[in-house]
């Protein structure tokens, strides 16, 4: 099993880059990014399109130059090193397989240009194709492969050079959902086997949660939060991160403290009971409640609170029911109930008023951002 060590392999230091658009506007895909990547970890750069994650990946690969800042590989500055001398390999978004070469030709390319002997090349190509489950397809051309197979060829081609860091640029987004999910697991297993640092770029939060050791959530050229998937999901730093990862109910309000209890007072709405360490009374805050924090039954012990909501829509997703409703003041709210059959089945209908109970530890407080 792979060990993620604390040892730093790659460091991005104060990376800044601006582009001039044809409409003579200015975009800043990298606005002062500092990031330390650990040996053997699976780090995901997550963000909406245009947040700078792909640009960051390209500057690491060496396809783009930084305006300011530096990238260090084990302490060695990379800016003077051209792309073809960097010990990083990329799995491209559209795979970028060489259409005029066979699978074996594509996978062996990195070894051929490095002058590896034919015999060793063949052996290593066979090995890496077995690793990605493509044995026997050596002589096919990329056009004769399915999307999933092409993806594996791209992966094998990038892995064969045994890079220090493997860069994956939205590499799963072209696959259909089912294949994507199985590739997520495979990719994770593969990383455990080969023990290479992976930097994965995606806009798909589910993918990020499934595969990563750590996630860097990016927006507008900055890293908003860096942490494990659980940290990002449970304790997002601000409204943007909370909204980007998973489904969430976020309410803005003012923190009020009353003896031992605290609550967030929502404008012209209910108050939400919270535990408010590190915040002072009167602070403007955002409070987040995940849909699964709500329960229709108030059976549980401990301090908590509840919200009254009118159900507008019930969405059945198999394991769960998503209840879309509105609070009395019109704010939308989403709650999640486990789907049960038979006697436990819920008899819910749109229009019905329900009470959503939550525990006092559930709401997560975030500093309010100026919108």
């Amino acid at each position: 099993m792979r060990q993620v060590s604390e040892q730093e392999v790659l460091r991005v230091d104060g990376a800044r880059k601006t582009f001039r658009t044809p409409e003579s506007g200015v975009v800043t895909p990298l606005d002062g990014i500092t990031l330390s990547i650990r040996n053997n970890e699976f780090l995901t750069l997550l963000g909406p399109s245009g947040c700078g994650k792909t640009t960051l990946l390209k500057t690491i690969a060496g396809f783009e130059e930084l305006d300011e800042g530096e990238i260090f590989l084990e302490g060695r500055a990379m800016s003077a090193v051209p792309a073809h001398r960097r010990p990083f390999n990329t799995v491209f978004q559209n795979y970028a397989l060489f259409p005029h070469m066979t699978v074996a030709g594509n996978v062996g390319y990195g070894l051929q240009v490095a002058g590896v002997k034919r015999g060793e090349e063949t052996a290593r190509v066979t090995d890496v194709l077995r690793l990605v489950g493509l044995s026997g397809l050596e002589r096919r051309k990329p056009a004769q492969l399915s999307g999933g197979q092409q993806q594996r060829v791209a992966l094998a081609r990038a892995l064969i050079n045994r890079p220090r860091v493997l860069l994956l640029d939205e590499s799963l987004s072209a696959l259909d959902r089912k294949l994507r999910q199985s590739m997520q697991i495979e990719l994770k297993n593969l990383q455990n086997t080969v023990g290479i640092t992976f930097i994965f770029v995606t806009h798909d939060q589910e993918e990020a949660l499934t595969m990563s050791d750590r996630i860097a959530v990016m927006d507008k050229g900055r890293i908003l939060q860096l942490g494990t998937p659980a940290e990002i999901y449970d304790t997002p730093k601000n409204r943007f991160v909370a909204g980007f990862i998973g489904t969430s109910n976020i309410f803005s309000g003012t923190l009020a403290k009353d003896g031992g209890t605290s609550r967030v007072e929502i404008e012209s709405g209910p108050a939400i009971a919270v535990t408010a360490d590190g915040f002072a009374a009167g602070d403007k805050v955002d409070v987040m409640l995940r849909p699964e924090h709500f329960a229709l039954a108030s059976g549980r012990n401990g301090a908590g609170g509840s919200l009254e909501a009118v159900i507008e829509n019930i969405v059945f997703v198999g394991t769960d029911l998503h209840l879309h409703g509105r609070l009395a003041n019109g704010l939308p709210v989403v709650a999640l109930e486990r789907h049960a059959r038979g006697a436990g089945a819920l008899s819910l209908a749109p229009g019905q008023t329900v009470t959503l109970h939550y525990q006092a530890t559930a709401p997560h407080l975030m500093k309010s951002q100026a919108v």
Binding site: P22, A61, G62, F63, P82, A83, H84, R85, F88, N89, T90, F92, N94, A96, L97, F98, P99, H100, M101, T102, A104, G105, N106, G108, Y109, G110, Q112, V113, A114, G115, R118, E138, R139, K141, R157, A158, N161
Partner: protein, 307 residues
Amino acid sequence: MAEGGTISSQRRKALFVLLTPITLLLGAFFLIPLGIMVVYSFLEPGLYGGVVWSFYPYNYGRIFGWPLGGGEEFEPLYIQIILNSLYYAALTVIVTLVVCYPVAFWVSRMGPMAKNIVLFAITLPFFANLLVRIYAWLLLLRPTGAVNTALMSLGLIDQPLNMIFTEFAVIVGLVYVLTPFMFLPIYASVERLDWSLVQASQDLGATPFQTFRRVILPLTAPGIAGGCVIVFIPALGNFIVPSFLGGSKVQMTGNVIERQFLQARNWPFGSTLAMIVMASVLLLVLAYTLWMRRAANNERLAGAGHV
């Protein structure tokens, strides 16, 4: 299935209607004249033009030395002229290729506006008559022409350079006339080139030269081959450029054929020369096709070749 039959018979009818005009056109204006040429090349030239309808293979003998008879003699001059023409055509292909290939990359990287202007500029010569354009080169290259005047006034040369009516002038003319035909197919293949493949090659550790040789060149090869064929064929048969810029010193098969038809009024011999030009083009195209097929087979069997 009756309905399916109706649809397919309708489609066949539509195909027939659509293909009839082009078939008639090609038949009337291409195949029939070609047939006449083939037949004429085996006929005896009449004394005052025209032909005598008897089998007469000696037109070929006059060029190749066999079979001889009927008063025809082997004239090695014609083989020399054919070889010269092949050489000029090959040189034209090489020069236009060397000029167009880098420019195609440069243009493909331009902004949309600049790109349109360049492409328009490249097609601009087609708006002017070919003879006028060739005549302009006559004015440029002659001893008192613009080039010599400029070079002399700069003090680079004392005597005017002898450029007009030389091989050099013919090559310049052919390159000038045929450059757009080389540029457009190459540009089309360069424009289609997926730059992420170039990045992928760099990413995998290939030096710029390796990337060029193993990715860029093979992927733009169809455009290069297309351009070479499209330039080579008209260059080989060209007669306007050598007759204007080559004077009487530089002969290409095109001029000889023209003279046989229009001055010597020896249609059979003119047809024979034309057949030989066509045969050499066909042989080259055949060789090229076989080579492409073999390259594709090798690729498939052996994976990619080594550096």
